[in-house]
Symmetry: C2
């Protein structure tokens, strides 16, 4: 049994009280009326990291400050960058909360408060685990750098400027944040009693296609049949992007896809995903997607094409007999690791220009793009995390992916050249961004314990 175990047991109530103190500060980053509280939450955290003996900074940005802290470097031991955020979502609608969002309340083993799981409650597990090490061992076995921002819920503007070097002083940000691995606890376990490591994310490329036909809406009787209809053209062009098997038709689209390994497919299959419950949850009578892949494979590890929005002509009540002058769609592709946003964008543009009907002018607008991310199963940090979580939760974590994108993971990868361990202590039904946000206190303490073991396991990895 590790030396810090008893410390963690002895301080459970105090950890909860400390988290509650922090949760009482309404650090709603998106609402300027809460600017003072956001600052107070940052200062609270800054003091706590300072108390650990870390070198700390409260870094002013264009928005809310970044709380930074680093422990002394340890010779021949890895450095871990811990990212999180101290800001929270607005609590509306207030009248749907059973207890007030900024008056933390414990019931049924859960702590209810805005920020309980997203992300104050999850983030602070890493602070308490450091405290346990310091109080029991005197020193940490690895160097830890805390990078905790206050704008995750409103675009992370300050963080991205910081990562781009805009606030550099005595050293470049890439040097300041240099680390062997990043750790983020801002997501979920696979389910109750089943911890997980999220080892892959999908990327995205998001576009807007604008089609222009005649200079104004035309009478569909007088003109229909003589001139290309932008709405017809839009349907046709969108439909051409994907076939009946759900395979995307952009030339070269799949060229760089790293196929799922047999081991990964087996791991996904072993999760026994319940399609029926999922259909019930979404209120659909069938599932759909790329032929030949399971639901989890399609959600987590295969590319997709989805129209996100579409518009043309008359959308009001009744009938209007027009041939619309314009049509447009927003659409996006979820990408998987190794697909290249730029290559796909160029191939898409070429294809759309080829299939755009005569008499229609097209404009393709590029919105954001981000590559997918995956940690190889054999990555030593992932093994360390798996062992740590098994110690902390008493259960071996499953390896899962997520279908979405986490931009900061891409930034760490591209700007800092470090991989990220996504270690979620939460649950899917924790009501992030909704009323009655909660965090299981049992998972909170297991998270702290896992974090404490994580430093120990990572310390074993040769640098």
């Amino acid at each position: 049994m590790a030396t810090f175990e008893s410390y963690l047991d002895d301080n459970k109530t105090r950890f909860e009280q400390d988290l509650c103190d922090w949760l009482k500060i309404a650090s709603i980053s998106t609402d300027s009326a809460y600017k003072e509280q956001v600052l107070q939450a940052a200062q609270w955290l800054h003091r706590r990291i300072d108390a650990l003996g870390f070198h700390t900074e409260l870094i002013e940005t264009c928005g809310h400050p970044i709380v930074y802290g680093e422990s002394p470097a340890i010779a021949n031991a890895p450095t871990v960058l811990v990212y999180g955020h101290y800001d929270v979502q607005p609590p509306d609608p207030l009248d749907e909360w059973e207890t007030p969002p900024f008056e933390p309340n414990i019931r049924g083993g859960n702590l209810y408060a805005r920020g309980a799981t997203d992300d104050k409650g999850q983030m602070i597990t890493h602070l308490f685990s450091v405290e346990a090490w310091k109080k029991t061992m005197g020193d940490l076995p690895v160097q830890i750098k805390f990078l905790i921002e206050g704008e995750e819920e409103c675009g992370s503007g300050g963080l991205y400027e910081f990562l781009a070097g805009k606030y550099d002083q005595d050293q470049p940000v890439t040097e300041k944040l240099a680390a062997d691995i990043a750790v983020i606890s801002d997501c979920s376990q696979y389910g109750p009693g089943q911890p997980a490591i999220t080892y892959g994310l999908r990327g995205i490329c998001y576009f807007e296609l604008l089609l222009n036909g005649p200079s104004q809406d035309l009478h569909s009787g007088a003109f229909g049949g003589s001139v290309a209809n932008p709405a017809n053209a839009l349907s046709k062009m969108m439909t051409a992007l994907i076939d009946e098997q759900g395979r995307i038709q952009i030339p070269g689209f799949y060229d760089d896809v790293i196929p799922l390994t047999e081991l990964e497919r087996k791991q996904f299959a072993d999760l026994n995903f319940d399609n029926d419950a999922y259909m019930k949850q979404l209120d659909v009578d069938d599932l759909s997607g790329e032929a030949g892949y399971s639901t989890l494979e399609r959600r987590w590890a295969r590319p997709t094409f989805d129209i996100n929005g579409m518009w043309s002509g008359y959308q009001g009540e009744g009938a209007k007999t027009i041939l619309p002058a314009h049509a447009g769609a927003k659409f996006s592709f979820r990408l998987v690791p190794n697909q290249d946003v730029e290559k796909i964008t160029e191939s898409l543009r070429t294809m759309l220009l080829q299939i755009c009907p005569a008499g229609i002018q097209m404009e393709l607008v590029e919105h954001h793009g981000a590559p997918g991310f995956v940690l190889p199963l054999e990555n030593p940090y992932m093994q360390a995390a798996s062992d740590a979580i098994e110690h902390g939760f008493g259960t071996k974590p499953v390896l899962i992916r997520s279908g979405g994108s986490i931009p900061v993971v891409n930034s760490f990868s591209s700007q800092l050249k470090i991989d990220t361990l996504l270690l979620g202590w939460g649950q899917d039904d924790d009501n992030l961004h909704s009323p009655n946000e909660k965090f299981s206190l049992a998972d909170f303490h297991k998270g702290i314990r896992s974090s404490a073991y994580l430093w120990q396991e990572i310390a074993k990895i040769p640098t």
Copy 2:
């Protein structure tokens, strides 16, 4: 030279003055603030028809009154039903009128006023032609029935109730309006100096397709690839309705189409339609439509499929990564003579249900439908009209069609079992429904003369 010729010459100025008197009455049917003026315009017309010695009625309806008048029956001579409307469009935007809309003004040979061509100026030609006959010949050679409504610009609610028999008193409406042919002058010539008979109209069937997927918008990262996207499905279903050659893919859609005859195709071709000018007018760099047909054929005499409106998901600024819960489209088919609205509706519904993807619920809403209309080229009334127009304009009319639908023509056909002659004295650029509506005074007088000859020519047709 016909007896009425000199009367028409002698009364030119007075005809213009009378029309101007009528045009001064702002009979804007859609705006209840003008209810009194609409009634005044009806009463004005009622008095004028009465003065011809006709039996007249001012028929109250749910909306504005119908002005009805009939001359005595003529043994062994045809009866002609003349339809028109005395109401006008609102004149907005007022500041774009060069002279006020209800102060008729003559400049450059044109009479400018709201209603100058649509339809007071065109309708009244038939009243003046009757006057000329009465003043010079004593009697008309045919029986004439005037059916002039006051709600053409706001839905014709009263007229349709009247045609359905709702206001029947001593005789059924079908008997009251019994006639051998209907005449409507509420459209245009082919071009300046080139009168025309519009002998065909397209029909229409108009639908709305609503697709419902998951019960709410989903995150396209977390869920994309696992469930059918209603916007993707909508694009696919719309695209399936038409092929690359512009041929509609609904089973049986073309079964009942009466093909254009070689004579008709030659007549269209002889009109030397200017594709380049048309492209310039519409501001497009190419024309488009069903392969194998000319522009006029495609506009006037071939069926079409046009999406009239379309919507789904996020239409605002920037990017929103959702898989939309719903998508919808309004779309319509222009039909040609002999196509059956109900048959096509049923075949469409069957097809859409077959191609609707699993996981999507569809709802197909039927808006309005109307069959196409065509007068056979050898129809004796068309020959009569052609001869009359040649007398009136000094030029043989060309035979054209129109791509739109005129519901009253369908009502006459289905409810009264009579065909309609569409004899337009206007021009395409007369600014109907726009500021500076105008009517060429030369065409006005040629229209009166043609109308006077029309009664003479029709009288020759054996009943």
